[in-house]
């Protein structure tokens, strides 16, 4: 029962969550209405960026931060539930939302593609898998961050943090592409950060079967690592009285 209650809560806790899902799907439909989308418009890559990378930031905004800011967390953590359960069930709620969202988006895109023949749906199933995996990685990172910061600042911090680490990389690659420092920086971001680049390559079919399995395992391990950090933070955190 507790798993069900916490998973459902991730969907019902804000009125905006339903609107987000609808508007995200609406964007997919709206693009088909644009008179001349390029015939080679890669729908899989678009879903990967739009739903896989951006949607988790919106859905997980304030997932713990809102509770901490309002003081609701003081009621939650005095209930007979382990911090790990509180975190994991909420994470699974978001992951399940993503799965349903991606299935709906996939069905919508395939239907409209069949009707209009606009865009390309090559390796669409692989892109959907990559989208769900990257959604989970971003969600775990964002949820863990929300244990530390109040309100929905976790998502904002993640966006700013991503810009702060990715922008210097582009500059380095522009001016010092072959330097060792640039390569190390690139590898660290590639393997320790949410694996956007690696899963992007997976979606576009650049790996063999073994390589693809390794990318999937790598992403799952990173997601677990981000989640473990969040669970430890939640377990060790104090919840003092704060007026909202």
């Amino acid at each position: 029962m507790k798993a069900c209650a916490l998973m459902v809560e991730t969907f019902l806790r804000k009125a905006s969550i339903r609107l987000v899902h609808l508007s995200w799907l609406g964007v997919y439909a709206a693009i088909f209405l644009i008179p001349m989308p390029p015939d080679s418009w890669p729908w899989g890559a678009f879903v990967f960026g739009w739903s896989g990378c951006l949607l988790p930031l919106v859905l997980s905004a304030g997932i713990f931060g809102d509770d901490i800011a309002s003081g609701r967390i003081r009621l939650l953590v005095t209930e007979p539930i382990r911090p790990m359960e509180l975190y994991v069930y909420r994470f699974l709620g978001l992951s399940l939302q993503a799965a349903v969202h991606l299935l709906a988006a996939g069905a919508l895109i395939l239907l409209l593609h069949r009707l209009t023949n606009r865009g390309a749906v090559d390796r669409f199933a692989t892109w959907m898998l990559a989208s769900w995996l990257i959604f989970n990685a971003w969600t775990a990172l964002s949820t863990s961050l929300s244990v530390l910061v109040r309100r929905e600042h976790n998502s904002m911090l993640l966006v700013l943090g991503t810009i702060a680490v990715v922008f210097p990389l582009y500059l380095l690659m522009l001016f010092f592409e072959n330097s060792l420092g640039t390569k190390i920086y690139h590898e660290v971001l590639c393997y320790a950060g949410p694996p956007v680049e690696l899963l992007g390559r997976l979606g576009s079919g650049q790996y063999s079967l073994a390589g693809a399995v390794a990318r999937v395992a790598h992403c799952l391990l990173l997601t677990i690592l981000y989640a473990v950090i969040g669970i430890v933070l939640l377990d060790r955190r104090e919840f003092k009285y704060v007026a909202d």
Binding site: M1, E9, L75, T78
Partner: protein, 317 residues
Amino acid sequence: MSGSENEAVPVVECREVTKVYRSMKAGRPASVCALDKVSLRVGNGTIIGLIGPNGAGKTTFLSLIAGLIFPTQGFIRVCGHPARSLEARRSLGYVPEAPAFLVRYSARAVLKHHAALHDLSRQVIAAEVDRLLAQLRLEEYADRATGGFSLGMRQRLALAVALLDHPRLLLLDEPSNGLDPIGVIELRRVLTEIRQSGATIIISSHRLGELEKLTSDYVFLHQGRIVTFGGQAPGGQSERLHIELLPGGPEVKEEALAPYQPLEKSETRLIVAVQGVTDVPNVVSSLVGAGARITAVALERRDVEQTFVRLYQERAP
């Protein structure tokens, strides 16, 4: 654990508990000692009033028992289990000073949600939710979103949440905040019912008159230390029994009143220190046995507020 073992284990046991808050002020580390080596044992079925001036450490003390914060030193057990453990949390219900809920959830949905966190079955959840909505007189508001609730309504709902699954310990931080007079009477009724079921209640409140009607024991906290703890008005102050005597009677000797102490004595008037109303028949029968002819008896109750002010003034810088 058997029933007799349950009786033996204190509901709350604090030993040498110290809590220091550390922060940064103007770039320098600063620390505030909110609780200083507090030790306390609380048994079954009592209502403890936690009183003290602002900043005395009342909310910190409740938060430590509830497992919301960690002690800097010492340990706390709830029903024999370390605070913050799953078993301790299963034994307690907590009402924070300003309860908050998901604003889109109705009162019924909030109760169902928290009942689910207790891992109760669907049938038990439905029964518990109906019982608590009725007990807290929340049926009328059961299906309204909590976002529109006043502070008093949220307090009642938080109490309902805390009472889920019959906790052995109830921690209430300013529970009458925002309640209207009828709400306060209702709260008193509910807490009396809970005490009758054998649960222990610890209440922190500034409404001293309200506490007086509810509590049997008091803990007076001042600057993070327990000044007094006992089953009477704080400070160990006895109540005063005024006895009017017919003139010309035999002199009442102190030994005749033992173990009670006469505070004032004249031919027609006697004031005796007693613990409470239950001592009145003993004193009267002792006096009658000593040959005194009593014309009137009156018990002067020393209220909590007076004692609180006196204790506070004694310790004011």
